[in-house]
Every structure is written in structure tokens, then in C-alpha cells.
Amino acid sequence: MTLYFLCFILFSIGLYGVLRKRNIVKIIMGIAIMSYSVNLFFVLLGYKFRGRAPIDAHDQGIVNMVDPIPQALVMTSIVIGLAVMALLIAISIRLYEKYGTLDITKIRRLKG
């Protein structure tokens, strides 16, 4: 249970980074922390104390395995996170070229 709460705290740290930081790179890091904490949480859900890898070997029964589904799902989620991250970093590079700053409070031509 403690581990799950630590995941939530990590999630909140990421959210804090997104909401409070002014530097674009730090905001992107906040998003990364959020998505990693959710992935960690999902993997931990399938974890079992002293469980073994979910491989159906020749001489072993299907006992005491960790849940393989979260692992498969988190793999997909990591790939999606990579795509989002790559896009965000590409946009931030172009933003730096256009505005000459990474400070989000100075990048505000749109308002109203």
C-alpha cells in the first residue's frame, strides 16, 4: 500500500512541475514524471511478492506468477509516451527558434 501512495506522490510532483514551472523544459519533465509514475503504478499492480516471471516453462505449474497484463499494457504506454515526448521536444525547439526564450510567461501572443 505504501508503494502505491508513493506512486501518487510522484504523480503529484509531476503535476506540480506542469502547473508551477515557467521553463518549457521543466514542464516537459513534469509530464514525463507523471507518465512514468502512472506506468510504475500499473506495473506494481501486477507485482506479487516473490512472484516469478510469467513464463509457462516445461516443468513448472502455473503458480506464483506476477500478472503479465500490466507489463504488456505499460510497454504500449511507454511507446505512446515516447511519441508525445518527441513531439513536445520538437515543438519546444521550434518555439525557442521563434521566440528566443524558453520562459512560458514570455511566450504569449495568444490571449482573449
Binding site: S35, F41, F42, V84, L110
Partner: protein, 502 residues
């Protein structure tokens, strides 16, 4: 072809179009646009055909088992009335926007890349509408979202990049919330299939896990749907994107990713309690009023339309979250109407931008004489969205207001009427400044939009004008079956499981 075998095509065809575009689009001129228009036209035909075939299916539901693995172990795709409605809406708007983009995207470089991203976005939205599996929903949602982040930044100007960055940050936060909610529900029910999850949740109750997941979904999907406390990304993204993409974002993306997913999960999986419905109703009414007022003071045409979108989303949410048969019917009917009207309005704004080079209403003027067709279609769409009687928007708003009165929410009904007045005055302001009045000097020599743009605007205007006919008995099943699915609530589980065994 049997209806069941048609189901995966809605994901396969746009995906294949995107793939072929990226292979050959660079070498052959016009390959990408022809491919995209043909594939989205095919999808429009197939979605209408599938919707009609669905009527003869038992229980009006079709379940496709991916790879032959029966749910709850495998992933399934479910086509029921609600999915059918969303499929028709998505593919209808996507087809006309694709036709429009052939002319409109001339002013941008690298058209093939635009059509690749466009096809991927349609693929993601079709997937969201069809899927019957929680994680699959998340994956398709991300496919559509990532494509739309990139499409908003397509012009790579300063404003586009800023809007896209804001949208991408908010969208990723929303996705994290949604994924956390899915993880919590998985930990509680040990299944990912929506129907199976609903079955487990119906007999296992929890004090905090399910409400917590419900609130996470509420926050995540409201961010995607841009209800008012979560709306900050929408006006920027909608006003900066290319007009055809604004039409897609406002017309279908926020509805499929936001409203459809939210209502599907709340009504059919978790089982909408009074708490969720009351919160949603409140958000809806707040959106109607505040966004209506904000729309009044905009002078950028697309920004005005973006605020009006938030306000109309409020109507849809208000109607659906009333939870009464009339309210849900009105909400879904308004969803259909709004997707046609708002995409037409954004296409008008795009035509104005294309011909005059400005989106600012104060700089334009007298366009009625210079761009007669754009002006006429804009008049139809404006009257329809503000609820002037013969047009479709009137009927859906009337049903929503009547449903509010019927269920005793007189204050909300009054707010809905006031919101409609705001919409009317905002759009009449746009008409007065842009289309009526004297022709300004710098507007001389402006020509109307190109041929493909005109075609899609005229078709959408005809649908706006004729939308009220959907209420007549021969066509009413289209909305009625969809609202029936929502009203059945968590007995959705039994219906899907029965269809699986068939």
C-alpha cells in the same frame, strides 16, 4: 458484405491510407489528396451502410472479436447505436473536410504530410467510437490526440506552435489522468473489457476506488472535451490551426474523445450515479453561460467560433446528463447538429482567411458581395446554431430546454435560453462586421473560395437546413437507438455478453 466483417475496416482503411500516403505521397503529385478523399468517402458510405444494417441485427448490437479471441480475454469491437451515431458523424465531417482541404491546403507547403496526419486522426477517432476495451480506448485516444497536436502546429508559425504546445501539455495531463483511472479500475475488477468490467462492478461495490476512478475520468475527459474549468487550450488551438483542422477538432474530435468516451464509461461501465450527473450538469450550464459571454467580445472570427463551441458542448453535456429519455435524445441530436453546423462555420472562416488573408472581423467588411456563396452558407449555419426555427439547431435546443423543464430544472432551462441569446448575438456580430456593410478598400479584388471548398460548404449547408428532418419517424431511429444505449446503463454488459456468444 456481412455487417460484422465491416467493423474492423473503419480502423484499417484510414490507417492504410495514411501508410500509403507516407510511402507514395512524396513522389506522385495529388496522390495523397485523391487517396484521402477516396478513403474517407468510402468510410462515409460504409458507416451509413453499417448503421442501416445494424437495425436488423438482434438487440441492435454487433460484436467483432479481434483475432478470434472471445472477450473478456480478447479485445472486442462493439458496434451499437451510440457507436454507429459517432461513426457516421466522424466520417461525414471527415469526408467534407477532406474535400475542402484539397483546395484550402494550397497555401501551405507539404500537403502529403497533412493528409497523413489527417488519416491517422480519423483512424484514431473511428477506433475510439468502436472499441469495447478500456486500454484499446486509451490507445486510440492517444493516436487521435497526438495526430491533432501535430496538426495544430502544422503552420509552424509562432502562434501555431504556442497553441500546439499548450494543447499538447494539457492533452498529456488529461491522458495521464485517464490512464490512472483505467489502472485503478483494472486493479479493482481484474479485467479490461468494458462489458466485463461493468458486470464485475455491478456486484462488487467499493467505498473509494470506483468513485476515485470516476473523478479521474471526469477530469481527464472534461479536459479533452474542454468543459469550462478545463477549457484553456481550446480557443488557442482552434483559432491557430488550419481551418479544416479547426473544423475537425471542433466538429468531431472534442465530441469523440471527450463526450463519447466520458458518457460511454460513466453510463455503461461505472453506472452514472446522481453525483456525477449533477456535477456534469453544473459544468454544462457554466460552460453555456461563461463561454457565451466570452464569445461576444472576440474580434478574431475563429476565436469567436471556438468560444461558441465550448458553449454548445455545454448544451450537449447538459442534455445528456439530465439522464431522462428526452434529455439524452436532445443531447445526442444536438451533438449531430453541432458537428455539421460548427464545421461549416469553421470552413466559412477558413474561406474568408483563404481569400482575404485575415481572420480579424474588424478588418473585413462587405464580403457578402465579394464572396456570395460563403456568405449564404454562413447565414444558414449561423441561424441554425443560434436556434432560428426552420433549421436543425432549433429543434435540438428546444428538446434540451423542454427536457430541463420536464425534469424540474427550471433554472437550467432559463440558462440554456440565455445562452442561446448570447450565441445569436455573437454570430450576428460576426455577420455584421465581416459580411455586411461597406466594402473596404483593401478587400477589393477578393474572389470567392476555390471549387472544392465551395462544394463541401454547400453540402454541409444543405445538411444544416435539412437536419430537422431527422426527427421524422423514418429517420428517428438514428438518434433514438443511440440514446437507448445510454439509457440502458450498465445492462450494456449483459447485451454485449449475449452478442458475444451468438
Amino acid at each position: 458484405m456481412k455487417a460484422l466483417n465491416m467493423i474492423p475496416l473503419f480502423v484499417i482503411v484510414p490507417l492504410a491510407a495514411a501508410f500509403l500516403n507516407s510511402l507514395f505521397g512524396r513522389y506522385m503529385r495529388r496522390f495523397a489528396e485523391v487517396m484521402t478523399v477516396v478513403s474517407s468517402g468510402l468510410m462515409l458510405g460504409l458507416s451509413v451502410y453499417a448503421r442501416i444494417l445494424l437495425e436488423s441485427a438482434p438487440d441492435k448490437i454487433l460484436v467483432y472479436k479481434l483475432g478470434g479471441w472471445a472477450p473478456p480475454f480478447g479485445i472486442c469491437m462493439v458496434l451499437d447505436g451510440f457507436s454507429g451515431l459517432m461513426l457516421v458523424v466522424v466520417n461525414l465531417v471527415a469526408f467534407f473536410v477532406a474535400v475542402y482541404s484539397v483546395g484550402y491546403m494550397e497555401k501551405y507547403t507539404d500537403k502529403p504530410k497533412f493528409f497523413i496526419l489527417f488519416s491517422l486522426m480519423v483512424c484514431g477517432m473511428n477506433g475510439v467510437a468502436m472499441t469495447g476495451d478500456m486500454f484499446n480506448l486509451f490507445v486510440f485516444l492517444e493516436v487521435a490526440s497526438v495526430a491533432s497536436y501535430a496538426l495544430v502546429a502544422f503552420g509552424t508559425g509562432e502562434e501555431e506552435l504556442e497553441a500546439s504546445f499548450k494543447y499538447a501539455v494539457m492533452g498529456s495531463v488529461a491522458s495521464s489522468f485517464i490512464f490512472m483511472g483505467i489502472a485503478l479500475l483494472y486493479s479493482f475488477t481484474s479485467t479490461l473489457n468494458m462489458a466485463d468490467m461493468a458486470r464485475v462492478l455491478s456486484y462488487r461495490h467499493s467505498v473509494w476506488v470506483v468513485p476515485f476512478a470516476g473523478v479521474l475520468f471526469l477530469a481527464g475527459f472534461s479536459l479533452k472535451a474542454a468543459l469550462i474549468p478545463f477549457h484553456a487550450w481550446l480557443p488557442d488551438a482552434h483559432s491557430s490551426a488550419p481551418a479544416s483542422i479547426s473544423a475537425m477538432l471542433s466538429g468531431v474530435l472534442i465530441k469523440t474523445l471527450g463526450i463519447y468516451s466520458l458518457t460511454r464509461i460513466l453510463f455503461n461501465v461505472i453506472g452514472a450515479g446522481q453525483g456525477y450527473l449533477k456535477a456534469l450538469m453544473f459544468f454544462g450550464v457554466i460552460s453555456i453561460i461563461i463561454a457565451g459571454m466570452l464569445a461576444l467580445r472576440q474580434s478574431d472570427f475563429k476565436r469567436l467560433l471556438a468560444y461558441s463551441s465550448i458553449s454548445q458542448i455545454g448544451y450537449i453535456i447538459l442534455g445528456i446528463s439530465l439522464g431522462t429519455p428526452l434529455g439524452v435524445f436532445g443531447g445526442l441530436f444536438h451533438l449531430f447538429n453541432h458537428s455539421v453546423m460548427k464545421s461549416l462555420l469553421f470552413l466559412n472562416a477558413g474561406a474568408m482567411d483563404y481569400s482575404t488573408g485575415t481572420r480579424d472581423l474588424k478588418e473585413a467588411g462587405g464580403l457578402d458581395k465579394l464572396m456570395p456563396l460563403t456568405s449564404k452558407t454562413n447565414l444558414i449555419a449561423s441561424m441554425s446554431i443560434s436556434g432560428i426555427p426552420p433549421f436543425s439547431g432549433f429543434f435540438s435546443k428546444l428538446i434540451i430546454i423542454a427536457a430541463c423543464v420536464q425534469s424540474g430544472h427550471f433554472g437550467y432551462a432559463l440558462c440554456a435560453i440565455i445562452g442561446s441569446v448570447f450565441t445569436l448575438s455573437a454570430l450576428m456580430k460576426a455577420r455584421k462586421l465581416a459580411f455586411l456593410g461597406e466594402i473596404k478598400d483593401r478587400m477589393r479584388g477578393v474572389k470567392d473560395a476555390s471549387f472544392t471548398m465551395k462544394i463541401s460548404m454547400v453540402c454541409l449547408a444543405v445538411m444544416c437546413a435539412a437536419g430537422g428532418l431527422m426527427l421524422l419517424p423514418p429517420f428517428r431511429f438514428f438518434i433514438e437507438t443511440a440514446s437507448g444505449v445510454l439509457l440502458k446503463g450498465t445492462s450494456y454488459a449483459n447485451i454485449v455478453m449475449k452478442a458475444v456468444l451468438r
